[in-house]
Symmetry: C4
Subunit: 215 residues, 4 copies
């Protein structure tokens, strides 16, 4: 009957992620008058649609990863909640960063590079928040099973590697924003189908309880 | 205490569908100045209100169907999650497709036909995602009871038939968009009151546990 | 582990109502340039703020009533789901009706009367949907305890009486919209603090299990 | 299978808070044409970004506090639901107050002072609603464990002290809005990391069941 802190944190995070992923659509709009035919508007706005689809899956993957991470804990403390809020701040800012990116991709120049940097910075904030969450979960003993030093070091190394991905993609985006969107799409596909468990155990997305023991 | 992958997938999907169905209202607006009397604006905007109500029930039926489908599984894997994201992408795009349709219904011509095609394409993406979900559920063994070959073939055939419905409705819409909206309304009513179980078993919307065995 | 149809219906309805009640705020906005001082704008827009607060509590009461009604059932069928969708359609349309009402209260004349009628019509759709839901719950045997003829007749009469309230308030609103808003506020206060159980039993908002038997 | 009034109140509140915190992003926007370079727009709009981040954490802390408060009760009555609605009204109004504050910070003068007052008034409504909720929980016997006179007096005194914080911050904001935003940030950090339990018991955010007894 009573909901745990963990369950309500998940519910609140699910809500924020669900609203943010749906608000992306508010950036799509056409004008009946004065902007040319519908066909031409849809063609001219291709960066908006590309950014919409890519960001949709970026946020979708954030949800999947958030879920995988929260499955490892039975409880949350205030520090973990704060890192979770940092993650949600990145998520709620994504519709803005996506809109700016789509608008300035068509403009090009220094403004397009700044838009690429902004999109990369929001992605990096997300990666940092995820790493802080994992770090806190391990070091505050919130994980549901015993984690040895090797497991936790490897998991944090892997997350740390993730921190380097967005700056690299962003630098490539300074040279070619469409290639950057392609790399985001690739990376999203990798995370969506990657089955490697976070802590070297066999937990995947939704396992029966009996499979949750470490190897 | 711990939420399964299935429960959180449902919660996240419920959230996205709830936000998308409510965002439809943002397409309704009148202007105090310079657009004529309120009565005239409401009359002139009839395609907006017709598209609003029809799409509301289209998304409502998606929720009902999503719920019926998820009742058949106890667990989700990453492939099913990806197909679920595809479905949610169709759902979040619906407010945009609806807005474009409503705007260009009044304009007519090639632009109206393109708007009809866009609306049909988003609907078809939704039908494809549902079919992929059922396919994955059957072939990855995620269904909660044993499914024999005949049951699964019939269920997939029925969903496959559904894939043909939207292109047909869309072609009719190229000739008459209002007739298309009427057909969407009819089809929505059919799904809302159709009691045929997905896999030839007796599961309807919310059965007591004892009724969930196949016939 | 498996969510019932009832639990997901509640979760979906909670989501839609939560989004709709929050979207009301999108109607509040001031302009830095060309519309006078902030003080003057806030003063001139009083109908917007009055309509915002009243509609906030109208939707809040809908949530409370929806919750009280759903506590009476253990299960939902497709007809009940359809009536529930009708109710949610009224809820999602409220931000639009509120915005129109606030805009035209300041204009007055025939347009203000039409705006009042629209607001009343959306309220009446809500009352009709609630009555249909109760009717279906009783006649499809979805109530969690035995309901005798007297109980169900009285409950339906009471809901039927509710159907007459909105037309009366609307007619008064044709003469004075501010009085109408006041009556909505009064009626909302009545529902918020009314402890009378729907079916003559002792169920109030969130009772311990032992109190849920009929008298 | 049946959700308690408490669980649905939490779910609804989570939904409203999640939508409101995500809607804050709608206040961020840049213009491709006629407003200068992207860099300049981002620089000129610093009050918008500062207000966005601060209000994000203000609402985040409201969620944490709401959660801590609801963990103390097993049940809700209609009066508590009404106070909860008052709290949610403050939450849904925050995106508007934030937008006004950000717009007029750049303008200065009497309008900026009015914007500061509006922001402070919405914060104070939130603090009042929280205090009313605690008061009702104690005096209607909704707390899950016995609360003695000393505990309840101290808890209410502490909440009452909170009521004085926002007026003080607001008065400082009349003199310097940026200092006000800094004080909000400080106060948010204090609440996020404050471990003091509301009723002198050991309940923190998400305790195991065995720790929920009073000292």
């Amino acid at each position: 009957m009573r909901q745990s802190g963990k369950a309500r944190s998940e519910a609140f995070s699910d809500g924020v992620i669900a609203v943010a992923i749906t608000l992306l659509v508010l950036d799509l709009h056409v004008y009946v008058d004065g902007h040319g035919s519908l066909a031409r508007q849809l063609r001219d706005q291709w960066p908006t649609y590309a950014a919409y689809v890519v960001t949709f899956f970026v946020i979708g993957v954030i949800w999947v990863n958030h879920h995988s991470l929260m499955m490892l804990v039975d409880n949350v403390d205030r520090t973990l909640l704060f890192y979770n809020l940092l993650l949600l701040l990145a998520v709620t800012t994504m519709p803005f960063a996506t809109s700016v990116l789509a608008d300035y991709l068509r403009v090009g120049g220094a403004d397009a590079r700044l838009a690429v940097t902004l999109y990369g910075a929001v992605s990096e904030l997300m990666a940092i928040a995820f790493t802080l969450m994992l770090h806190r979960m391990i070091h505050a003993g919130l994980i549901i099973f015993p984690v040895d030093r090797t497991q936790s070091r490897r998991a944090l190394q892997r997350f740390g590697l993730g921190l380097a991905v967005y700056p690299v993609i962003t630098v490539i985006g300074l040279w070619s924003p469409p290639v950057m969107l392609g790399l985001y799409a690739l990376q999203t596909a990798y995370y969506l189908f990657d089955q490697a468990p976070i802590l070297g155990n066999t937990i995947v997305v939704g396992p029966p309880a009996g499979q949750q023991t470490p190897q």
